[in-house]
């Protein structure tokens, strides 16, 4: 198993100065932009993206070309890059922002050319100060060289990019919450319909919201064609994907691979196995929102559809490995606490439910649990996500609430003995 470097090639070729515009240009940078400006056919660009079958890399996996096709006509349209990467386990956009900001900027310009957009925002989470500085520096270099501003490279194309810093709210990764945040409001997800910002987005104008990794893929697709991109990976999960590997592996990191290999092979090859030669007890295949797989399920293939069919999701591409000595009740509590902290507070089942789940798990983890806590957990989970099925049913505006249910169903389905072990046996069931 080898890496296939499309998005992370330039940063590997020129590790010390891949962020510099001169170095980027010398390594074929901005050639895709020049190509589309020369051909001057926006429709072709959209068709290449459609041909590539690339699906959004933020977590939902929506086909990018289809999303672009939805963009409604209007004089003012916007592109917003979602760089609010906050899903626990995920740090792949961080490397793209920090080490190859021009690849993203080139992708932004091409996207805006294709969709006749004159203003783009790159929304970066507040904690990513260093990545945001790199991107801003690169934006300034691009203005100086005439890639941004009025009459880009002597054409009629004009585009401004504003880099905007968030302020510590995971929920702003949800695209409508992100738009509210960018409008200077609380980062609360909007009621649907309208389902797509492409119809009604920023300032109620048609808006494309795309992930950093998705748009960073655009220059390669334009240079090599959508069909070439679609040859990589497998059907339904074309191209490469940057997986963030963390947890109890020997060598964590970001690895760009074609989708389709098994998690076990991935962990062995790139993680170099588990520290101290321990066994895998459980792993999270796609960020903290995703239900866990057990150490016996390492043969599942890393594709969007395979993971979905096995009852979880590839999500943001964050693989977190937990070894045989991990206390999974603590692990679940950590994840539930995350969602309780990050709940925006709009929907009662999520606001109250996640807090209750956190308190119950806290009680169990501290050794004061009750047998009845199990049914209480299930009851609260059921109020957030009726039936505890996968994909989750929702009683909330966005999927944050149901995400807090995932670690609990994972515990109950596969590791209920661990939960039971933490309940004192001598204490009678509380009334």
């Amino acid at each position: 198993m080898k890496e296939t470097l499309l998005l992370t090639k330039h940063m590997r070729d020129f590790p010390e100065n891949s962020h510099n515009i001169d170095v980027y240009e010398k390594n074929n940078g901005y050639s895709a932009l020049k190509k589309v400006l020369k051909e001057d056919n926006p429709e072709n660009v959209i068709n290449e993206i459609k041909d590539s079958n690339i699906r959004g890399r933020g977590g939902a996996g929506f086909p990018t070309g289809v999303k672009w096709g939805f963009l409604a006509e209007d004089e003012d349209r916007y592109l917003v890059i979602n760089g609010d990467e906050s899903e626990p386990g995920t740090f792949k956009d961080r490397i793209l922002l920090e080490r190859d900001p021009h690849q993203l900027i080139e992708g932004v310009i091409i996207t805006c050319f294709a969709s006749n957009i004159k203003k783009a925002f790159i929304y970066i989470r507040g904690e990513y100060a260093k990545p945001a500085r790199r991107v801003q520096e690169a934006v300034e270099q691009a203005y100086e060289k005439g890639y941004l501003g009025d009459n880009i490279l002597g054409t009629n194309l004009s585009l401004d990019i504003v880099v905007h810093l968030g302020a510590g709210a995971y929920i702003c990764g949800e695209e409508t919450a992100l738009l509210n945040s960018l409008e200077g409001k609380r980062g609360e997800p909007r009621l649907k319909p309208p389902y797509f910002p492409a119809v009604m987005g920023l300032y109620n104008k048609p808006t494309l919201v795309n992930n950093v990794e998705t748009i960073s893929s655009v220059p390669w697709i334009i240079n090599n064609s959508g069909k070439e991109y679609a040859k990589l990976g497998v059907e339904g999960s074309t191209g490469t994907r940057i997986f963030s590997l963390s947890g109890h592996v020997r060598t964590p990191g970001n690895f760009e691979i074609e989708m389709g290999k098994s998690f076990g092979e991935f962990v062995d090859t790139f993680g170099n196995g588990i520290k101290d030669d321990k066994k895998v007890k459980a792993y999270i295949p796609g960020g903290a929102s995703a239900p866990w797989f057990t150490g016996d399920q390492l043969d599942i293939k890393m594709t969007i559809d395979d993971v979905a069919n096995a009852g979880s999701m590839l999500g943001s591409g964050a693989v977190v490995v937990m070894d045989e000595d991990t206390n999974l009740v603590y692990a679940a509590k950590s994840i539930v606490s995350f969602f309780a902290h990050e709940s925006c507070g709009q929907c009662t089942p999520c606001r109250e439910g996640t807090t209750w789940l956190e308190m119950i798990l806290e009680r169990i983890a501290s050794g004061r649990g009750r047998l009845s806590d199990i049914s209480l957990l299930v009851d609260v989970c059921d109020n957030i996500s009726p039936g505890l099925s996968w994909p989750p049913k929702m009683t909330t505006i966005c999927p944050l609430g149901p995400s807090a249910v995932s670690p609990i169903t994972s515990l109950l389905d596969n590791f209920s003995d661990e939960l039971m072990k933490m309940l004192p046996t001598k204490i009678p069931i509380a009334q």
Binding site: A129, H164, A288, V320
Partner: protein, 205 residues
Amino acid sequence: MSWDNELLERAHKIIELYPQKRSALGPLLYLAQEKDGFISDDSIVEISNLVDITEVQVKSVSSFYSMYKEEQTGTYLLSVCKSISCEINDSRSVINSVKEFTGLENYETDQDKLFTFEEVECIGACGGAPAVQVNYETVEGLTPEKTIEMCEWLKNDKPEIIVADQLQNKFGGTKSFDWAIEDNTGSAYTVPGFQNIGTAKEKDN
């Protein structure tokens, strides 16, 4: 205290970046925090005038986001991650060593206004767990011992500008990925160091 001309000038420059004034609200709140170390009532009045919304609307936004602080922060904001990858890589021990050194509990600031300590959710440094941010500059792969050393260094040397790369070189361990590019810019406040809000500061060598 109301904002001086220098701050107002920076505020107007930020507002110009956006098609609608209110979009500048987030960045302006960072200016407020740079000024006082928290979002003061005076700044809320100032910002409400700058972007033409009510004071309650400003407060409603500032209280929503965890990086805008309602109480005064110390010189150094120590944010220790406790989310899943850090949790299973013993972030508890890093949290305990910060608590022990500073004598602070979660969200507390010491009397000298030197340190503010907080336990935070995922900061995107999962491959380098456990990780900490000092004034939003990341250091990865910490141990309890190195954490104490870092706190001692902050206390004794009182660096004016915090730079992620310097922290990492001095105290860090395993990183999420190769940082590769040398960097000398950081933050001088309990606000992210970022050009568009005028808080990115370069360190002299």
